[in-house]
Amino acid sequence: MSGARRIGEVVLSVQDVSLSFGGVRALQEVSFDVREHEVRAIIGPNGAGKSSMLNVLNGVYHPQKGTIRFRGQEFADMESHRAAEMGIARTFQNIALFKGMSVLDNIMAGRNLKMRTNLLLQALRIGPALREEIEHREVVERIIDFLEIQAYRKMQVGRLPYGLQKRVDLARALAMEPSVLLLDEPMAGMNLEEKQDMCRFILDVNDQFGTTIVLIEHDMGVVMDISDRVVVLDYGRKIGDGTPDEVRGNQAVIDAYLGVKH
């Protein structure tokens, strides 16, 4: 499945990242890397620190220790806004869409960083501002086609069923034309059919746009099918890292998932 893509150099990596909330140690000295164009999964049981890791990469949480390296630059922590500017987009586990706005407006909001005209031109809707709006609209329409949500364009997002909201969330992230896409449990709460659709979209994004994908997932089966490499976290520590087959055979991983006699 991943043979056709050329997996490249390391684009994003974390070294010895530790994060705690008061006494709760969410992440303890976790290190791993993500290569260009690959689908990289982070898995682990509940409370393993998966979402915390993603939030560190995206700049929502700021780790107390460790560094984040992205395209040769090293950071002690990220800022959401800076991450977005550098081409890191994300989706949310508990869908964080702009509920009062239409599907179209939600996705257009994802183009925000690409907008160059100033407030005054926008307000008057003249010249460059209007041209720009039309250009961005074209990109957005392609994404809408790509994710097969044409029929819901004008609908208010809050009224759409869950599976579709997840798709709009993905669309908004794609509108940023990111080089790295962070997906926080993209398949959580979906039925089988919706899961299959979402898998297809993720692989298509990876394949057609060459987007590097980091995804968190609960569903082991799904992860093993679509990922190139997998990191396994448990109680905030990394207990496994490798191809799906390697991870599947790892005793520590089996223990973490199935439980072990002490």
């Binding site: 959401s80 806004h81 964080a96 009062g100 706005m101 407006d105 183009r111 907008m115 307000a123 720009e132």
Partner: protein, 333 residues
Amino acid sequence: MRKNWPVILLGAVLLTGLVLPLATGASPPGFYIEVLLGGLMAGVLYSLVALGFALIFKASGVFNFAQGAMVLFAALAVARLAERMPLWAAMLLALAIMVVLAWLIERLVLRPLVNQEGVALLMATLGVTYFLDGFGQTVWGSDIYSIELGIAKEPVMVLEKLFQGGILVNKEDFVAAVVAAALVLGLALFFQKTATGRALRAVADDHQAAQSVGIPLNRIWVIVWSVAGLVALVAGVIWGSKLGVQFSLSQVALKALPVVILGGFTSVTGAVIGGLIIGVGEKMAEVFLSPILVKTFDLAGGGIENWFAYVLALLFLLVRPEGLFGEKHIDRV
């Protein structure tokens, strides 16, 4: 739908009250329309102040107690600056001052307090209120000043052929209402149709998601507070030219409180409609309901205008706490 009956009942009572004076012939049509227009015009001004509240509440979740102080501050600035320069220049300069003020508030008050309890932010805006009231007097003085818009204040008689006695219309009120309506319309278009407006709405809906697509919160807040400053400026100039620029102007803002409760805290449309309902409602109540109450219960006199808005707001809190157009909050337990 079943649960809506108290709202429907309340609406029906209000509507009946609205048409009764005309239907029963208690009032000549000309006079009735005069009162109605007067109410609408006052309502537009309430809407303006309420709009400032709604904008800031929507975008930053802050209940900005200082909106009234901003109205006074802007009006003072225009009145005093206009003594030295033409009115248009004074207004432009005052607008610039309001934008600087917005920037300062974002820097010094909002940014350090972001993610704090709502109460902390409310208290902070209360502080801004008193600072602005005092600072305004320090800079601009504490007398009563006037703003001359150069529009005739004397009422004129129109439609004399249609209604007996004609309708008395104040030209300045009329211009004010048109300006306010244009501003409201312009803002609505700005929010719906421009990229920045979209970013504003995005921030209002979800801070975190907005940041994840690279919308800078701080810049958005400066814009929102600047727009609130512009709205305060327009309201201040209109009220100021009507009543004189004085301390009581900041009290006008308290009337905007029932307006946003009625319309819904997060709704721009709600602020507009709420303002009109309250403007018309209190005028009607004062003119038509007051004499009935006085006669029936042998009371001393009117004053309904002063409390009508608050009682209406209270009723709304009982039957529809989220207001006419507000978002209903359902918290998961």
